[in-house]
Amino acid sequence: MRLERLTLLEELLNARGVSGDEGEIRKLIGELCAKRGARTITDALGNIIAYKEKPGAKRVMLDAHMDEVGFLITGADANGTLKYQPVGGIDPRVVISKRVEIGKDRVPGVIGVKPIHISTKDDMENALKHKDLRIDIGAKDAAEAERFCPAGSYASFVSPPTRFGEERIVSRALDDRVGCLALLAALESDLPVDLICAFTAQEEVGLRGALVAAKRIRPDIGIALEGTTCNDLGDVSSEKQVVALGKGVAISFMDNSSIAHPKLRAALTDCAEVNGIAHQIKRGVAGGNDAGAIQRAYSGCPTATLSVPCRYIHSANSVANLSDIESQSELVIAFLRDFAQYEGRIFE
């Protein structure tokens, strides 16, 4: 990966944007879109939509959600620790002893648990739930805690992007800042389609941003660029791994939110093969993404999903391969560059 792109990815990862609180990442993306000569609008849900218009050409909606999983503060206990709700799907087992930062002022916090010395056998054998956990911000009582972090404040993991091995990166929010990077790459290219890039809000709480974005855009085709589950370690049998790190962009046939349009999926697969872009089939149907909302907005349109495998997704430290991130961008750009070749068979 070129340094320039890696730096851009790190910039995207450093900005925060828990679902419903996407202001910081939205501001950054707005600036990056403007630099690429795209007209942008921000809608009521907080989506930012970037246009590179080619009137008369097919209207292609590329989608990446800019929001990430995190936490919402719901109040303080008398001892000054904060109660919270997860925003999006977070396994309570992965939050323990993690640093978080809360609100605009990035108040530091830690999700603590009682030490091993006084934990009972029962404690050790049973996973804690979010309702049992608290965020400690060093406040001495509820009043102090509420002064710094009133109920309704958002919190996110503290885990800045870090180069990891020769070709990997570890960070929070790889899901789905990798997709945002692919959209920015598409905006840099001159593509023969009426291109609309939607950086959506509130995906992690139910594909909410994409639904209204698609209704505004009314695309002829929608492609979701995502980060997806990767369970390729240990003695996991092939059928449970879903995808493997480093084996290329994953093409989905189906998940909980949509079934990929068969002809669009076939065209994307052919495009990857013709252009020698590393790709793999996503071997699982768990999860869902914005394609489900785009596919069914108004009278519907063909959709597909291209994903970057992310180990430890929805945690403070997810891991992706830089080459997979590149394959995702390369495939979507090659497909739209050669769109005339595929258009006929998708819409026949």
Binding site: S238, E239, F253, M254, R265, R283, G284, Q295, G300
Partner: protein
């Protein structure tokens, strides 16, 4: 006639998302009786039969997709790992023969699990007689779908087969289109795609057509078998059921009452249906755009989502008669 039509539409594959073949079959069957046919991005087959200028536009929707398996992986010995498409458990089709769209047949089995209740869909596999991954891949790719093989038992009036849900309704709509000549109301017959994965096709078809009224035709459970749970008043062979409500929609009263009035006018028996689980395309149609009055006419069906879904031909014929009456007035 109803039995012949039913047999034709039951024998064709069309797992949710892979409806091309059943859509082609249905298009051939209805072409002589409609004015316009098209498909859309979701895979719906939308057929329009024009009515009088002062008639309403009524969407009559029967889903053509069926539950089945999708291949998620192929192991080194040529076994196909699968996930369910639509709602059914890991036990549902063990020991059954399944067919893929390209004609490949397989048998469904599961890894040996001591406690059967703990069996998960991840333990279920399909054996297509291949002895290696390579041999399996010559016939099947990841993402291909399979459904329980067609096998029909005609007991007399009652008929058992897989995929009565919702091909029985497809057959009713075909017979309805044949009988209407011409209807007072414009009929938008939608053979919807992807109902079993969340009434997805009906949603986009309704948005595209924006009908005045939507009627889903679907099967419903019955309460007339030994130990049937939950309690339910609908019986097989006692006539079409006019849905009052299910988990996905409360039928719009004017549509519900219109269907009941049509039953009375046509002199066919009807049942009032309250289903405490499940839903139909009516739920999706009703909440499309600014809201569309919608209801469901149900065909009573025993053993839904099993290989032996059982319906009554007379219930089906009466359903077509009732709908023809509704569309006439």
């Amino acid at each position: 006639m109803m039995l012949d039509t039913l047999r034709t539409v039951l024998a064709v594959p069309g797992v949710s998302g892979s409806e091309q073949i059943i859509a082609e079959t249905l298009a051939e069957l209805v072409r002589p009786y409609v004015d316009d046919i098209r498909t859309d991005a979701l895979g719906n087959l939308i057929c329009v039969k024009k009515g009088a200028a002062d008639g309403k536009r009524v969407m009559v929707c029967a889903h053509m997709d069926q539950i089945g398996y999708v291949v998620t992986d192929i192991d080194k010995d040529g076994f196909l790992y699968v996930h369910n498409v639509g709602g059914f458990g890991p036990q549902a089709f063990l020991g059954k023969v399944v067919t893929f769209a390209n004609g490949t047949q397989g048998v469904v089995y599961a890894k040996s699990v001591k406690d059967g209740a703990k069996l998960g869909m991840g333990d279920v596999y399909i054996d297509i007689g291949a002895s290696s991954k390579q041999e399996a891949e010559e016939k099947i790719s990841i993402g291909d779908t399979a459904n329980v093989a067609f096998q029909m038992v005609v007991h007399g009036d009652r008929v058992s087969a897989p995929t009565m849900d919702d091909r029985a309704a497809c057959a009713v709509v075909i017979e309805l289109l044949k009988a209407l000549q011409p209807p007072h109301h414009t009929v938008i017959a939608v053979f919807s795609a992807q109902e079993e994965v969340g009434t997805r096709g009906a949603q986009t078809a309704a948005a595209a057509e924006n009908p005045d009224i939507g009627i889903a035709v679907d099967v419903t459970a019955t309460g007339d078998t030994p130990g049937a749970e939950p309690r339910m008043a609908v019986k097989l062979g006692a006539g079409p059921a006019v849905k009052i409500m299910d988990r996905h929609s409360i039928s719009t009263p004017s549509v519900r009452d219109g269907l009941i009035a049509a039953a009375k006018a046509a002199g066919v028996p009807y049942q009032r249906e309250v289903l405490t689980f499940g839903g139909t395309d009516a739920g999706a149609i009703q909440r499309t755009l600014g809201g569309i009055p919608a209801g469901t006419l149900s065909i009573p069906c025993r053993y839904v989502h099993t290989p032996v879904e059982t319906v009554s031909l007379r219930d089906m014929e009466q359903s077509a008669t009732l709908l023809a009456e509704y569309l006439k007035a």
